[in-house]
Amino acid sequence: MKSLFFSVLLLFGVYTLRIHAQELGTANYRCTYKLSYSNDPNQVAKKTEDFMILEMGPISSAFYSYHTFRVDSAIKSDLAHGVPAMEMLASHSKYGRKGVDYQIFKDKRLAKTITVDKLAIQNFKYEEPLHAMKWEILNENSNLLGYEVRKAVCSFSGRDYEAWYAPAIAFDNGPWKFGGLPGLILKINDSKNEFSFELTGFQSLNPVKTLEIPEKKITEINKLEFLKRQDRLNRKPYEYLRTQMGIQIKPLDDAAKANFDKVRPYNPMELN
């Protein structure tokens, strides 16, 4: 049933993946982070991992999942080669596993963080102030990947975080929405260790890469409303599809119906 749900999403996703882009700036560095997170608050030890890319320049940056990028690129390529959507659906396993859907863009000129995320088949975009977290720099040093790092802590969206940043990498950036420290954040995790980002790679880009915000069929929304919808989709996906998007999936039997009505565990990164 779970595969049916995601198959429906893939089928629709195939049709909506026609990307145009809005230029944001250029990136001359690429960082890779290992994201580790717990989907289920009842099983925090069970972690899902993703492979995240941060591409950054002096005025802007983009942060996204490599796995999602890879799958979307493969689908886009198949679309460009005229592969029928039903055939793509039938062989969807060849594309592999997607990662997280969100893409986070930071624009220093506008002093904004722009989040592009997907709920079912709809793309949303919302903005918030750049690096809104208030950091406290502590007197603790360590070494990560050959860089001297310093510790800082902050509270953001209902969670307490502990970060390690490298003053030698003079970019006030970091994974996800994090940033604003006097050096690149190499490692950050929340106090419950349910979400963590850890740098695995760092390289300069030559030539520089143009950063773009994809302009799909995208709906602007405020952050609070988006988080509410995201919560509903993750806890009751079929109800969300029906009420929010008018997509009706009928259960074949009682077991499937029970599955439809089941409230699923969900562990959002942003709690408020």
Binding site: S93, G96, K108, R150, D172, P182, T200, G201, F202
Partner: protein, 875 residues
């Protein structure tokens, strides 16, 4: 290159000091690029006293390059301006605060880059991907060297690839089945630097039309090349010279992987102890469609071949070998591929050994001492052509194959019976194999046909100096045909297959043994066999299968009417028998939890003995002291077997493990009876039920530790076998129990060194029911290889091997082997290798084998210390 100098110009001072209630001072200013004068955004401005780690305050410059912050008033504060790509600038604020325009000058980045690495292993659904670059190191050169290091994958001594305890069923290059089951050509020759990923496709069903019908418990491997290595010829060329004696090693290998065409070509020759014909070994996996072998196999009438020891092959392999192989696959039209193979191999092999063999009887023993020199020249030429159409609605596969084999053998024996033997074998085979499956009208329709013409002839002779000699000619011609039609009907998640078929196997075997054979109770003369053995099978097979997420089941109930006619032409006696045979089997697998799978299987196999050599009326020479003659009645063998297995894998944590338990009970229709006539063993096959059993439990657990580039594994195997023999008229039951431990550790904690350890501890107990009991025998092999990389151009390794073998109660053999090697990277793709093998010059290796109610202690000659210098060019 831009200068690293720091340039700061204070253009103007704008005191913006404000004395707030908290006694802090405001400072601010603008930051610009020193050359373009453009404002710099995102410059980190931090204030500190003496220690930069003690940050008092920090801000980043805005879109206009402006910054503003508040610092404690009255302190001697330093302000640091830093932005990646620009030289950091620090200024001191004395008693009064300042605001300024700061010009930062661009600077060449001297930051340590951390090479971006994809995770070593990624996993999605049934596909596990290994990043090859992240596992390669040390002296690795071929993709096979790296495969051995991948958690969950083993490469056995004969080159077979095993994933989590089960042999793979396909080896693809970029998704194409170029190699069939001859994947040694890729494993041994493709440079790992050309490969980006190794993919393991778990539960791989290669026949697409059967994907929703039959599950597979086997995995396939797909290697993905780097983009730079596609659409062009890649390969390598190496040439080496060495001593002792004069050694040579030449090798070329090319590969082209394009969108609609692939070709792999290999040409090799050496006398340096490398078995290159192993690269074209065809690893047999069960028939993809029917789970059984397609063509029958028969025992080789001549048994003069050398039995290899349990030791690294290059230590005892005295060879002069040539291999030429070319394989290509083309996309003809959409989804239809053609594949062609041409192959030539020739070896000249020589092995020396001395053996002490004791056959056990209930009240006596028969002892043979011999030292022998085996020479053989196997030569083979093979052509094959395949057409394949493998899509979701249809499967068509047809392979036409022609092979010519020739082998000359020459064995000199001294000891209990001094003699000289010669043997010459010729074999011609033509086979065609067709499978066709089509989905039509809601069902799948199957047609298959396997045809084989096998012509085999031999000439053998033995010269006993004191007695005279004997010679033998023999030939065996066989025509085999198996044809069947069937349908597969889907039944709500289940499927039901019905198949009807006919199998024909017509065989003629003639032999003529001539000479003084008094020692086997015969006078001089001819011993002639003219046997005709015809098998006709009519069979029905029903298969009920369930394939769903998390569990699979397959129940087979074949029923076979087998009619066998045997005629000894010289005696004009004709014998005919018919059997009705059932061969039911059931297999079941279930996912217990994520990654943990339970496997169950039970089966009953019934087989009519179809090897004509077991029905020959008159004796036939197998080797100098071994003659066989057969039964005049048709025999059948039955095997009941059951197995239970658990496999577990967590690829992201690099944990792989499995345990399997198997029990089989055999009832053989023919009893092997040995009669000792002086130095001669006459073996007869007597129609008599005899029973044997086999119990085996084996397990392996492995774990990779990514942080330290380490992987460890332990394999444990216990087996117990029992079988019955007749020795000089007395029944004898033998049992052999053994337990083996194989630990393996490979670690590369530093970029400049790696260590590899593998051990084989074997403990065996051999006994007969009638009182013969051999002291438990222990053997131990430890191999330790240390690789060191002192610079990017030089790699060094040394390998130490310690072996301990208990030959018998009083004799233990301890041996040590030492090898070394150095690799110098001359240019990017040109390397110089120096290898020294067995530099302690150990010349013999001894161990004990327990087979056929006998104890056989053997000492093998080892290759002497040898040194080889070679050049390797990769393109």
């Amino acid at each position: 290159m831009r200068t690293l100098s720091l340039f700061c110009v204070l253009v103007f001072l704008v005191p913006i000091i404000g004395h707030g209630q908290d006694k802090k001072a405001d400072i601010g200013g603008r930051i610009r690029d020193a050359i373009s004068k453009e404002p710099l955004i995102g410059v980190i401005v931090s204030a500190y006293l003496d220690d930069p780690a003690q940050v008092l305050a920090y801000v980043t410059s805005d879109v206009e390059g402006k910054f503003h912050m508040r610092i404690p008033h009255g302190l001697k504060v330093r302000i640091k301006f830093s932005l990646l790509g620009y030289a950091t600038q620090t200024i001191s604020l004395e008693h009064s605060a300042i605001a300024s325009v700061i010009f930062l000058e661009k600077e060449v980045i001297s930051l340590q880059e951390i090479k971006i690495k994809l995770p070593k292993i990624t996993h999605s659904k049934d596909t596990i991907r290994y990043q090859v670059d992240q596992f390669a190191g040390g002296m690795d050169r071929s993709i096979g060297d790296v495969l051995k290091k991948l958690p969950g994958i083993e490469v056995s001594d004969n080159g077979q690839i095993i994933y989590n305890g089960v042999a793979i069923n396909r080896f693809y290059i970029e998704g194409k089945n170029l190699l069939d089951n001859q994947y040694g050509l890729a494993v041994e020759n493709i440079n790992f630097a050309d490969v980006s990923q190794v993919e393991v496709l778990e539960n791989h069903q290669p026949v697409k039309v059967l994907e929703d019908t039959y599950a597979s418990d086997r995995a396939a491997i797909n290697i993905k090349l780097k983009d730079k290595s596609k659409m062009k010829w890649i390969g390598n060329l190496s040439a080496g010279l060495g001593f002792s004696p004069l050694l040579g090693d030449l090798s070329t290998h090319t590969l082209n992987v394009s969108a609609d065409w692939q070709s792999i070509n290999t040409l090799k020759a050496n006398n340096s102890g490398t078995n290159i014909t192993k690269e074209v070994k065809q690893f047999s996996v069960e028939d993809l469609i029917d789970s059984k072998g397609k063509f029958p196999t028969w025992a080789d009438p001549l048994q003069m071949q050398f039995t290899p020891p349990n030791l690294r092959e290059s230590r005892y392999y005295f060879n002069e070998s040539v291999l030429a192989n070319s394989k290509s696959i083309w996309d003809l039209i959409k989804d239809l591929t053609a594949k062609a193979t041409i192959e030539f191999t020739r070896d000249e092999l020589e092995n020396k050994m001395r053996a002490s063999r004791t056959y056990l009887a209930t009240d006596s023993t028969f002892h043979f001492l011999e030292h022998s020199t085996h020479r053989s020249i196997p030569t083979s030429f093979r052509l094959s052509f395949n057409l394949n159409n493998n899509i979701e609605k249809q499967f068509l596969d047809n392979t036409l194959s022609v092979s010519l084999q020739k082998e000359g053998m020459d064995v000199g024996i001294g000891g209990t019976t001094t003699n000289e033997q010669e043997g010459n074998i010729r074999r011609y085979q033509i086979s065609n194999d067709l499978d066709f499956i089509k989905q039509f009208a809601g069902q799948k329709w199957k047609v298959r046909s396997s045809s084989l013409l096998d012509l085999y002839s031999l000439k053998g002779s033995v010269l006993y100096p004191a007695i005279s000699g004997i010679s033998q000619k023999a030939k065996r011609n066989s025509i085999y045909q198996d044809a069947s039609v069937g349908t597969i009907l889907p039944l709500k998640g289940w499927s039901f297959e019905n198949k009807l078929g006919v199998k024909l196997n017509f065989q003629d075997m003639d032999s003529d043994l001539e000479g003084v054979i008094g020692m086997i109770d015969a006078t001089q003369g001819h011993y002639i066999n003219e046997l005709s053995l015809n098998l006709r099978d009519l069979y029905y097979e029903g298969i009920l299968a369930l394939k769903k997420e998390g569990s699979n089941m397959r129940i087979q109930f074949p029923l076979r009417y087998s009619s066998v006619a045997m005629r000894q032409k010289n005696g004009m006696a004709r014998h005919h028998e018919a059997f009705l045979l059932a061969e039911p089997s059931i297999s079941y697998s279930r996912d217990l939890t994520t990654g943990l799978i339970l496997h169950l299987r039970a089966s009953m196999d019934n087989e009519v003995v179809s090897d004509p050599i077991q029905y020959l009326d008159e004796p036939i020479l197998r080797n100098y002291r071994f003659f066989t003659s057969g039964s005049d009645s048709i025999a059948r063998n039955r095997r009941l077997s059951s197995s239970l297995g658990l496999s577990y894998r967590d690829p992201i944590s690099a944990i792989f493990g499995h345990v399997n338990m198997r029990y089989a009970h055999n009832t053989n229709g023919l009893l092997t009876s040995n009669r000792f006539e002086g130095p001669i063993v006459v073996r007869e096959f007597i129609l008599n039920r005899n029973r044997g059993s086999m119990f085996n439990i084996s397990g392996r657990i492995g774990k990779g530790f990514f942080e330290s580039n380490t992987s460890v594994s332990l394999q444990v195997q216990y087996s117990s076998n029992s079988s019955t023999f007749e020795q000089n008229g007395q029944m004898l039951q033998q049992s052999l129990r053994s337990i083996n431990f194989n630990p393996h550790i490979t670690t590369a904690p530093f970029s400049w060194s790696s260590l590899d350890y593998s051990g084989k501890l074997s403990y065996r107990h051999f006994a007969t029911t009638d009182g013969w009991q051999v002291d438990p025998s222990l053997s131990w092999i430890n191999s330790l290889t240390l690789t060191c990389i002192p610079s990017s151009k030089i790699r060094l390794y040394t390998s130490y091997e310690y072996l301990y073998n208990e030959i018998d109660h009083d004799t233990q053999v301890q041996q040590q082997f030492l090898d070394f090697g150095a690799r110098f990277k001359w240019r990017n793709n040109l390397e110089l290798d120096l290898k020294g093998s067995n530099i302690l010059n150990v010349r013999s290796f001894g161990h004990t084998q327990f087979t056929e109610a006998s104890i056989n202690s053997v000492y093998y000659s080892m290759r002497p210390a040898n040194y080889l210098c070679s050049v390797y060019y990769n393109f």
